[in-house]
Symmetry: C2
Subunit: 381 residues, 2 copies
Amino acid sequence: MKLIVQKEDLLYAVNAVSRAISNKNTLPILGGIMMITTESLPGKLVLSGTDLEMAIECLIDADVQENGRIVAPGRYFQDLVRYLPEGPVTLFSENTNELLLSYEQSEVAIRCNDPEEFPALPTAEGNIRGQIAVSTFRRMVKQVSVAAATDVVRPLFTGILLELTGSKLVMVASDTHRLAIAEDIWQGENITEIKLILPCRTMLEIAKLAVSDEGMIEIVASRNQAFFRFENLTFATRVISGQYPDYHQVLPASSLYCCHTTIQREKLIESLERASLLSRDAVRGKTNIVCLNWREEGLLLTADSPEVGHIYEELAAIVEGTQIESSYNARYLLDALKVMDNEQVSFHLTGESTPGIILPEGSEQEQSPYTYLVLPVRLSR
Amino acid sequence: MKLIVQKEDLLYAVNAVSRAISNKNTLPILGGIMMITTESLPGKLVLSGTDLEMAIECLIDADVQENGRIVAPGRYFQDLVRYLPEGPVTLFSENTNELLLSYEQSEVAIRCNDPEEFPALPTAEGNIRGQIAVSTFRRMVKQVSVAAATDVVRPLFTGILLELTGSKLVMVASDTHRLAIAEDIWQGENITEIKLILPCRTMLEIAKLAVSDEGMIEIVASRNQAFFRFENLTFATRVISGQYPDYHQVLPASSLYCCHTTIQREKLIESLERASLLSRDAVRGKTNIVCLNWREEGLLLTADSPEVGHIYEELAAIVEGTQIESSYNARYLLDALKVMDNEQVSFHLTGESTPGIILPEGSEQEQSPYTYLVLPVRLSR
């Protein structure tokens, strides 16, 4: 292999594909970055990294003088490229054991892994196809990912459910204590109704790398794999198998709301942050429990911890309907409030021990761009 | 105690004094922040924190209605104040067990520690007195602290030696592998020659909190304690006892230089960073060893690691005198180069296995604002 690339292009690509590289050293080859040039892609260097669950591929311009492939050790290579001087870098390898980088009057030789061991990356195939605006995708992933489970005991809940029709995309995540739903438009090609469960971690990585505020993400998927493509990047991810529970059954009909409230989002966030500090209760084994008491005159928010102290806050709020007092994990409320950007939010309650629904102010649950369901904490008194 | 302070003043003070609070929970009371108002300081709230080695005190404006004192739990209090709404906050305590903070329509009560247990803070006394510009102090501490030892086995070397005369201040630090010396002017009051060894950690904290580019730091010290005062902050620190080795004996006379070199500082930093990546040698138990070969045509920098690969760099440099090849711990060289801000640096060598001296380009060792001595690594070949 022999080619010349610009340092800044190489660094961008190496940083991007490194996001898929496994930190766990189960298989050393997965710590590598594959670099390939082929006749079918003249003038391009293809870099890729994978942890077997997700793969990231990045294409950059290169002055290719001889085709080839090599697997560089990921972390070393990333650090090295970061410190290269600006300008052209020559990548050269006579065999697959060693890669020679030359720049200015200097050169580095690094030992490489056997490319035969590198897992074959899937090609973007599937009959589920469509496009979504980068900014919309990012908004949806940010808003639902907070509700996904992080423990791998129930793999289904570490995923985000995607419900796709021709014009509407719905994303859903839940760890069984709360449920987040985001919906928006996309441009699906001849899709009636398809459900896919994709790893939340991969979705977050895509949202992180899709930084441009314009442009579209192209989605190609089958029952087993999904591909996301934008600019010079392609993400491949496995689809989590299993049947996602019917979340519609959990969502209370809006006719069951007995208390409608509207409150300043930022004010509630600050108040919950303060209350979180005073809600650690080592004795009862509960953490972050805050009590929300919705009254005609506003919201009373209280929390106490025998060790630290207690807090009492009065917040201005519009409260209509039955006065309700319920306790929540403050973290669950904060997660939702922090990923919203509305000045005011609506918190609808169905009872003291039944679900509450947080919505952007003014939207109806049935067609809200974002719906967050949260269960109160049952306290043994 | 009853008083009203502005949230931003309180947050500034709490953040400042928290820097002295111990993270180790040996004595719970040391995790606290003492707050006092007295008749002798009307209209002021005094906050302080200490880990017994260093103490930080901060004075802020307060509308004091009733004098008193209280010790709030440091970390909780800091987090809480951070999340308070902008504007006035009332601090109230009926007894020393509980502090009540009220703001807007809300209030928090936090449990407090017994102020009787809080160590008495020393008052700024001593016959060593003077003033130094904040920016000068910061420059000197930054440049010498990199050479101080971090292991507490030899407490002397975890300190910075201060040599004070009436007009000149010299700071020195060493971990026995390298030695850093910074000197500059200060305004000492009738001082012939005084030596003090102060903990490097404290000096770094002072440099960190002295953010303004103007103003003076006032120094008051005795044989046992030193005080640094600027704006509304006072630092107290113990003096490390013992006799600092005579560093003049280690410094080679400039007549012993056999090779004079001048090189671009940034270029050498980048090259050393790259070489560091390829200089980990698990087999020989050496890390970060790079070889510097100074030749007439410039610097050859090489490093190799059996596991990772090898690097060969040619850097432009002016080299006069004997050609010399020595190996160094790249980290030691980087530490010095990164705290300098000169475009070019001079690296003077006295032999292959004897000390090298790094100076800002154009300065003579005898009166350089910064001198960094580094020993080559002896390799068993």
